[in-house]
């Protein structure tokens, strides 16, 4: 099986799994307990927290709150910070932010969407024009999960603060953290990350928060995570997250360079008569979105699955939701919207796999084209 859906989730990092499974029978105590076992669990969490934070931010200015997933981190950021005025975001957000925006509208907060460019990145000037004195929060995805486009979040955050210094800036960094260089500047207030996109386990995410920002909790209870996120911590998942991030960040540049080569190799091997490239070269190396015009992405996906190649798709074959909201916002034509395939890589992806996958994808697409003639 060739796995090219790493933007959905990744195979857990072996070292991370090993360390987590060792800890299963030794660090199972409740981290809030005051006896030795509990303290050990607490220390495990805190050292993971410190390590993870240092990969992306200055620990004197930022803190890291563990959550159950990236979605929870996004929810906490948005509902904690956007309580009044207006909320500015982009048309290219992941559902974890988009659905929050929809809900905010129900709660009486005005929501403004900035348009996208054809590669899926936000139109920065248009976004800045939407920000005003009443903007309580701006949320901009760092790396678009469908096209791979990278938004200049640091620059945007700085310019937004010039317009309104009280506006909180959040970015969903789930597809960026551990894949492209991430350094949180003083203008970025909140940043969401997730473990399982970089070889960690499902069930762990985190919200990185500027210390000086006060944010009301999203979950109330036993006061864990400094009262900012109650609920007994997922010690093993957190431990695995720190190991997987460790290996991702240590080889960040080297991996990105190699994966970038693989992405271009795959694109160059795909049949140019069938496929159209949606991702730009300047996007994350880890995502290549293409479209097979006139074919359905979902059908291709199933046929590829039968041939042992797992890929993602931007479309769901449903008359109610015929294609991706984000791809539509990129302004692509209808024929392209239906045939989207998202091919996404990890540090583990090999050149042989890419060569083989390209061959199978070309064959399957040509066969489907033939069957539909």
């Amino acid at each position: 099986m060739i796995y090219l859906d790493n933007a959905a989730t990744t195979r857990p990092n072996e070292q991370a799994v090993l360390r987590a499974s060792e800890a299963v029978s030794s660090i199972w105590y409740n981290p809030s307990a005051l006896y030795e076992g509990g303290c050990l669990a607490r220390k495990t969490i805190d050292s993971a927290r410190e390590k993870l934070l240092l990969f992306a931010a200055d620990s004197s200015a930022f803190e890291l709150i563990f959550t159950s997933c990236g979605t929870e981190a996004d929810n906490q950021a948005i509902f904690g910070a956007a309580k009044r005025g207006n909320f500015v975001t982009t048309a290219g957000e992941h559902a974890a932010v988009y659905a929050c925006a929809q809900e905010l509208k129900n709660r009486g907060v005005e929501v403004r969407y900035a348009p996208l460019r054809s590669d899926g990145s936000v139109d920065c000037e248009a976004l800045l024009n939407l920000v005003d004195g009443n903007t309580s929060l701006v949320s901009v995805i760092h790396v678009n999960n469908e096209t791979g486009a990278i938004n200049p979040v640091a620059e945007l955050a700085a310019r937004i603060k010039q317009i309104n210094p009280r506006t909180v800036f959040h970015s969903d960094g789930v597809q960026a953290f551990g894949k492209i260089p991430v350094r949180l500047t003083k203008h970025i207030d909140l940043y969401s990350v997730s473990a399982h996109k970089i070889g960690g386990l499902k069930g762990v995410g985190a919200l990185i928060k500027r210390k000086s920002l006060s944010l009301s909790p999203y979950l109330y209870g036993g006061g864990q995570e400094g009262g900012k996120r109650s609920g007994t911590e997922n010690v093993l998942g957190i431990l695995a997250f720190s190991y997987s991030a460790d290996s991702a960040f240590h080889a960040l540049e080297e991996n990105a360079k190699r994966v970038s080569f693989l992405r271009e190799k795959l694109w160059n091997s795909l049949d140019e008569n069938i496929f159209f490239r949606l991702s730009s070269v300047s996007g994350t190396p880890y995502i290549l979105s293409v479209s097979a015009s006139g074919l359905k992405g979902e059908v291709l996906q199933r046929m590829l699955s039968d041939k042992g190649v797992y890929v993602g798709t931007g479309s769901a074959c449903s008359s109610k939701r015929p294609h991706s909201r984000v791809m539509e916002a990129c302004g692509h034509k209808k024929e392209l919207l239906e045939g989207v395939l998202r091919l996404s890589f990890s540090a583990e992806t090999t050149e042989e796999e890419i060569v083989e996958a390209a061959r199978i994808i070309n064959n399957v697409a040509a066969r489907l084209q033939g069957r539909l003639k």
């Binding site: 059908v299 046929m303 069957r371 539909l372």
Partner: protein, 384 residues
């Protein structure tokens, strides 16, 4: 000796003359099957059934299952106690209302009992009135009843509320049919309605993988599973029509796609039914609902089969069907977005009134027999 019991009364079975024994036997089997896995004893008494000796904490579960057995007219949770007047009163007190109007109705199977029915009514009613100050008797239009049934073996049944069952006839008393089930709202309701009239319903589902996805099939399995609460059928037959759709798409006029496919489905269904001794086809078609469900559309599919095609929803509005599907419990599954019919092959303008002659002409371009046999030979069965 006091225990909770469930009293079950049956629907139309009493209308049956010499066949009554058969209906009652099937009904008993169905009741037993519905209570499988729960400790209980089921007994038939004069004109009704009694469930006894169950875990009283699970009485709601027992009622829920009985509620879904076709043939049940009504049921009540009651108390079985000794037939002394004190024991009967104690039970009556626990089922009686404490406020409003009521009436006691007694019945004696044991006519040697020292009190008459009227005397029992008066005694129990009097005691209840003195216990609950806000209670009044109204023999004509009471808010609530207290029923007392003195039986021959020294016991009495006391119960209050009557719960309405689903009615209908016991499944297995009215032949066997093949339901053409999709992932939509209508077909599960059609299956429900035929099962309600006592028909044993087998399921057949057509898919077109890879144009439709595995989740769509899994959705149909869940629909069938939900229906199985009523039908007792625990398997789904599936047949792929992918190749047939591709052939039609490449060789025939686009406007006939849907009608031609339906004719294939009917042919496959009939052949499948005949092999399994099933006596009719059942569909969820409703007149005029979509382009292929016109009288011309129905005629064109009927002409390729000889088995009767039952369409229990033919005269229903969509609203009525939706209401029923909520009641059956399939609605929420049916509206999930996984489609079992891919839009790849849908023509922009389907023929609303297909002419038989044109369809037959189109079919000459295809190896109908070969395609039907091939599809059937690749049938899959999913047990659940």
């Amino acid at each position: 000796m006091t225990e909770k019991v469930v009293i079950i009364r049956y629907a139309e079975i009493h209308l049956k003359g010499k066949n009554r024994g058969f209906f009652e036997r099937v009904f008993t089997v169905n009741l037993e099957r519905s209570l499988k896995g729960l400790r209980h004893e089921l007994r038939r008494t004069s004109g009704r059934y009694l469930v006894e000796n169950f875990d009283e904490a699970r009485v709601d579960e027992i009622c829920e299952r009985i509620h879904n057995v076709f043939g049940v007219h009504s049921y009540s949770v009651g108390i079985k106690t000794e037939d002394t007047i004190d024991a009967i009163y104690a039970a009556a007190e626990s089922v009686a209302p404490t406020i409003g109007t009521f009436k006691v109705e007694s019945h004696r199977a044991d006519k040697r009992y020292p009190m008459t029915s009227m005397q029992i009514n008066a005694e129990i009613g009097g005691r209840l009135l003195s216990k609950f100050q806000e209670l009044k008797v109204d023999v004509h239009h009471p808010d609530a009843f207290v029923y007392i049934d003195v039986r021959e073996n020294g016991s009495a049944l006391v119960f209050g509320e009557f719960c309405k069952g689903r009615g209908g006839m016991p499944v297995g008393t009215a032949g066997k049919g093949l339901l053409l089930i999709s992932g939509g709202i209508d077909s599960p309701v059609a299956g429900y309605m035929m099962a309600k009239r006592g028909m044993t319903v087998e399921y057949l589902h057509f898919h077109s993988y890879p144009y439709t996805n595995g989740l769509a099939k899994e959705k149909v399995v869940r629909l069938a599973k939900t229906l199985s609460r009523f039908t007792g059928m625990h398997r789904l037959n599936t047949v792929s029509v992918t190749q047939i759709q591709e052939e039609i798409h490449s060789k025939c006029a686009a406007e006939y796609n849907v009608t031609l496919l339906r004719r294939f489905m009917f042919r496959i269904a009939e052949r499948f039914a005949q092999k399994g001794g099933l006596q009719c086809l059942i569909t969820g078609e409703s007149l005029g609902q979509v382009a292929s469900q016109t009288i011309e559309g129905m005629t064109s599919s009927n002409t390729v089969v000889t088995l009767p095609v039952l369409r229990p929803l033919v005269g229903f509005d969509k609203d009525e069907i939706i209401e029923r599907s909520r009641d059956v419990g399939t609605y929420d599954i049916s509206v999930e977005p996984y489609e079992d019919c891919c839009t790849v092959f849908l023509p922009e303008f389907p023929a609303i009134k297909p002419k038989l002659k044109d369809l037959e002409e189109e079919e000459k371009k295809l190896d109908v027999e070969g395609l039907v046999e091939k599809a059937l030979s690749e049938r899959e069965v999913i047990e659940f």
